[in-house]
Symmetry: D2
Subunit: 354 residues, 4 copies
């Protein structure tokens, strides 16, 4: 039996190269290695220690410390970039110019101008440009999207997220670019509206450091507000999002081993009986709670399959360059607001300047 007639023809699978094998890269490499859509052709990392680790784990792949060698490699059809943010734009641009499809870890790039350049380059060359907004591919977030889309939650009142832990202080990004970006990308996916302005506050507790504790309020249309608390200096790890609507309310707790998404049949109703001077104009109702069984497939596995499908069928990913750009525009506005103690800053619409 020839190799070609095997169940999943290797010959047709997509060769992928992963740049950056530090914190997140190994997860990406593992998922691409175990995917039948891809073959892990190459891994690169500047650090010898990480390159060695990659070599032990992926003996079949080319392992190099030179990202350029990886990008140019003929067996590499798609490049996955898992390096510090400052390097995203240059590496992604080089990969696109070499004719490779590109998946970049979040955030897509350091500035919205860089994002626009990548989007344009990918469009020109008809290549897939995707950003690794991982949470979008989790069973929990996909279920929340479905609940909101079907009207189960009603009109959305607020999205409130706490994403805090004792974390590494990163040198090239602040806590908003590191943690709040997850919530911004989830909101981008699940909410029916896009934010118009942001008020951000925060603080850097390290001399000359970047903010490690930050609060963002996102202003949408009337009746919807978003808020994110991102923090690298918390004694406990919390990953909890509340989404309240006119019909139901969601608690999404990503730390929970099971029942990550709980839906509460709770809410308020307006009672106009002119009974009391101070209270009970608005009443509330408390009903059942329900935790749907969720798909527990690893998000990166689903994301890899989606990347493969987009490449094969020339489709636009759920988390495409535009999603990456929208996210960066919010991060940029938040940075300006934070520097001005919460002064609200309008968010540029992606197509405003065109």
């Amino acid at each position: 039996m020839s190799a070609k007639t095997k169940r999943k023809p290797r010959a047709a699978s997509i060769g992928v190269g992963v740049i950056g094998y530090g914190y997140w890269g190994p997860n990406l490499a593992r998922n691409f290695a175990e995917s039948t859509d891809f073959n892990l052709a190459a891994v690169s990392d500047l650090k010898g220690e990480f390159a060695d680790l990659a070599r032990r784990r992926h003996p079949g792949a080319l392992v190099t410390r030179d990202a350029r060698e990886l990008i140019k490699h003929p067996k590499v059809d798609a490049v996955v970039i898992a390096t510090p943010v400052v390097t995203h734009h240059a590496l992604a641009l080089e990969a696109l110019r070499a004719g490779k499809h590109v998946l970049v870890t979040k955030p897509l790039a350091s500035t919205s101008a860089q994002c626009e350049e990548l989007i344009a380059e990918a469009a020109r060359r008809k290549l897939v440009l995707m950003v690794d907004h991982t949470f979008v591919y989790t069973g929990a977030v996909r279920r929340i999207k479905e609940l909101i889309s079907k009207g189960e939650i009603g009109d959305i009142y607020y999205y409130d997220s706490v994403r805090i832990n004792l974390g590494l202080f990163q040198r090239d990004v602040d806590v908003i670019w590191d943690l709040a970006v997850h919530d911004i990308s989830i909101m981008d996916f699940v909410l029916p509206q896009r934010p118009r302005a942001v008020s951000a506050t925060g603080i850097a507790h390290v001399p000359n450091g970047r903010p490690n504790t930050a609060y963002l309020t996102l202003f949408f249309e009337k009746d919807l507000i978003g808020h994110i608390h991102a923090n690298w200096l918390s004694p406990v790890k919390i990953r909890r999002t509340l989404i309240a609507g006119s019909r139901r309310m969601i608690v999404y707790d990503d730390i929970e081993p099971s029942e990550k998404v709980k839906i509460y049949d709770k809410g308020i109703f307006i009672d106009n009986s002119p009974e009391n001077i101070s209270k009970m104009l608005i009443s509330y109702r408390a009903g059942d709670m329900w935790a749907p069984h969720l798909d527990i497939t690893e998000a990166l596995r689903i994301e890899a399959a989606h990347f493969a499908e987009c490449i094969a069928k020339s489709r636009r990913p759920l988390t495409d360059g535009e999603a990456g750009l929208r996210t960066i525009r919010i991060l940029e506005a938040a940075a300006r607001s934070l520097a001005d103690r919460g002064h609200p800053v309008d968010i540029v619409s992606p197509h405003a300047g065109r």
Copy 2:
């Protein structure tokens, strides 16, 4: 007077009248009734239904629907006001003018000008004016105050509180005046600094309603920031405060039946070795966690004893009129900021205008 009669001098006990027997009044009345320092001389409530309930529970007390009758009653030496905020100033002023000591539920009054008038009136008549900042008298908050005062936490980095639940929408106050006021009064008690400015955001989900979801960032001196999330529209009840310092970190969870205060021997330290382009400049350490055994005496019982002591010894309460005023000034600044989407507003120092 013999030793035997000295211990519980019924004759010498303070006659107290409680105005308002709706939500919080019964707790105050019960604690004053069970205190040996006081005798519950009178209760008043506008509503017949609440007056009836008071009559059943406190058969020895005068029960009336007329607060003035209570204030004037000769057996009433001290007046406790547990009515809607809009009525605080008028009732407290009348009680002070009638020569009675006054304890007012939070917030002290509707405006800082009203607070100043009450403070001045109490000072003129040498009467005790106290505000019921209940949490200040809990075992948990007293322990936190002690830990901070003794330097166990180090320099305070932030105070972050989430105080949310599905609650009654009140007609006369918004969620900041109803819930955030608790955190503002706790901060006033435990923190070594006073806030200088506030950025507040929020939203009213009910037509013509007051904000029911609000976020406050309090700016202190460099390196300390405060944040409060107050919400009447949450599917779950959360009462959790994080206080991080340079030496240790506190998680205060008031929902926990025991171990409400946990102290984490965690933190960051700065490592200046120029090793890596992106990470590990700042490292963190994770040590033991410790939950001290707390005094579980009901806060109102301790508060009542403190009120009695202040009356007996002409002392200034821990939560005096000034504490009430400082709190109101923050609430006023927050309201202005919230109306302007987070635009920072300076907080007037209590003595600034004098």
Copy 3:
């Protein structure tokens, strides 16, 4: 009789006397005092300190240290007994003989023979004899009963309960009589079968003391088993019951402030495909979880109303003398098994000896 006087017929309300004002008595007295079906005519306690407390809280009631005075009191139609177990039988018998209806806190008496005597006496005099199996009247247990009765859970596989805390070591009863009795009475109410035998193990950690840590296995018909862990020497308080059935599974956690009852759409199904030597003969399914909104009315309030209704309509209470007797028979069998290191002991059927 006019409609107005009909609703709250004070004259027709039942005079109740509460014997024992230590730990549980105050809760009973408060609920009877606030019930419109009853008037709290008298309270008695041997200890002056508790009698004093009762006098302050219930100024309208006769307060005495002599239980006999209370029983004989003409305004007392019903007697509630909240004293140590050793005194239950004598007090209840005296009250029945004085023509009073009787409610006894759990367990009903010290021996099954005593229970039988009380049952016979009440029957002879056509008086209500009720045992305070409090949990039976909670919203949680009533909902569980309903779920099981309607077949929502399917065939019951097991009832497993952990009821532990750091508790007072009682002198007159062991931990089985103090804590496990709650689960035995809940099982008596919710399960479709009655236990036939028991294997109990346990230990006394205090010289000459009674067991403070105990484990009971209750054997029912084939396919149903019960187990209780009762413990006075646990660092944490746990009140959790698992009830698994062929269709669904219940977790009842009484410590949870809300969502005390969770229903899991989980289970097993038998797959007879002869595929593997070691696994997967039986497969399992995991579906949604659901927490129904529960009635949060205080159990004693519902219990008091039920007691009133049984008196008024000469009905048999849900937790009648027979329920008390069945419970005692299990406790007696468990004591014998525990003394013999778990040797199984058959449970006498209530009507076996008749």
Copy 4:
């Protein structure tokens, strides 16, 4: 310096072969592959699907479906057996006879006679025989052992463990052999005494099946008791152990992401004042709680290093054949007791029959 003289000389590392690549085998294989003490020379699994997976993940190892080929392989110095229990004895014996060191997943074998044969064979050949009692190598259990050994807990009162979840029903072992075995091996490691008798109860809910719900009480000397609840049919996963002593109490919750071990400064003290007929003879004290920071190194990594050290230095492992035998003797006694509804069964001392 040549590659050969590098820090951890490959040539001197121990060649290891892993038999069984189903559920637990991959974890063992991964840890041995990443250990510098070992090189993963071979993997075998009867199932082609699992063999294929091993081949993808460990391209450098021989992968075969024939365990004998693996055992005989000259590069294999040590054999790790992760197959169904029924096959342990034959495979381990064959490996020992081939002169290989052996690590067997728990439980060591199907009968105590089999264990004795393996122990004798290993002793005769001076080979290391180790059983994979994984929990013994966790940071949590090692810390508990240390606390008990140093007298921090005082005299141990009880060890109570709940180890339940919705699990695969295994064909060759029951839930005691699958889950309770973990607690028996932890007790063997941390407790200062060995159990003398066991009372076990349980039930099989599947026709002709093995028990899936079981309760074991272990009788030690006076004042110490052990209890295990093992269950494959629970809607929730619980892994919680309570260990109470005369000085302190431990809660070990393996589900907790952090703070797995909590130490409570709680206990009882005997107060002989003859005050009350029913209560307070024994009083209790409640002090602080403390959660030590634990080593979070993966247990299998530490276990692999220990196996290597025992091989290199001809040492007896912490979890040697005798530990495996003691565990099996308890399992055998429990099985007899369970068949007789909890009738207590003495546990044969390992050296009794010699």
